[in-house]
Amino acid sequence: MLSLRLYVLQRITALLMAPLVLGHLAMIIYATQGGLSAAEILGRTQGSVLWHLFYGTFVLAVSIHAAIGVRAVVHEWVGVKGVVLDVVMWATGLGLFALGARAVWAVTFA
């Protein structure tokens, strides 16, 4: 059950994520060349406003995007509807956002 608004939101976030994901994938490939360690990751990202914005945007976008996506799937394949459906959507979005934000915070500022 997607209205125009949710549809547009989902597409915009998807478009937004595409370059971010590509960047992220490139980054993984680059980063994993010589093994991976916490210090390495943190060294690269810590204190960087750019990385913060990069991953922050991604987390925001993915929370919205996935919440809307899950809404459609849960409605069509599980038969959830009405208020429960809205609850599922918001829970997915907020949950993802909370976890994501914590991770971004962890790797950029903490």
């Binding site: 597409r11 998807a14 478009l15 994520m17 595409a18 994901v21 590509l22 994938l25 993984i28 490939i29 994993t32 991976l36 360690s37 916490a38 210090a39 990751i41 943190l42 987390v59 993915v62 996935a66 996506g69 899950v70 799937v73 997915t92 949950g95 993802l96 976890l99 994501g100 914590r102 991770a103 915070w105 962890a106 790797v107 903490a110």
Partner: protein, 117 residues
């Protein structure tokens, strides 16, 4: 008729692309929180993160992380394909072509990733 047979009898390329996109989307929605949780360890328990990252060498975790990347690639190309399909006024023939191109590109992408990881 059992459901599975009913579904298979109606399958066609665009439909398979839809199923793939949906399954990868669900997969991402399930695994991404886990990924975030692991990353957050950088703050809460750096040592555990290191131990964890060390484990990426080990089968299960490597598979999980690779799976995530793979799903992301599949889903993203699928999604871009879908949006192109919806917003660019293409003719049907071009659509099948686009579907084929998307399939090919994610195959290449995943091969590439397989090597990289």
């Amino acid at each position: 008729m059992n459901a599975a047979k009913g579904i298979v009898s109606r399958a066609h390329p665009l439909w398979l692309a839809y199923v793939l996109h949906r399954l990868s989307g669900i997969g991402l929605a399930v695994f991404l929180p886990f990924h975030f949780w692991v990353l957050a360890m950088a703050m809460t328990a750096p040592a555990r993160l290191d131990a964890f990252l060390a484990m990426t060498g080990a089968g299960v975790v490597k598979l999980a992380e690779f799976g995530l990347v793979f799903l992301l690639a599949v889903h993203m190309f699928g999604g871009l394909r879908l949006m192109a399909l919806e917003w660019l006024p293409w003719r049907p023939s071009q659509k099948s072509l686009a579907a084929g191109a998307a399939a090919a590109s994610f195959l290449i992408a995943s091969l590439f990733l397989l090597k990289a990881v």
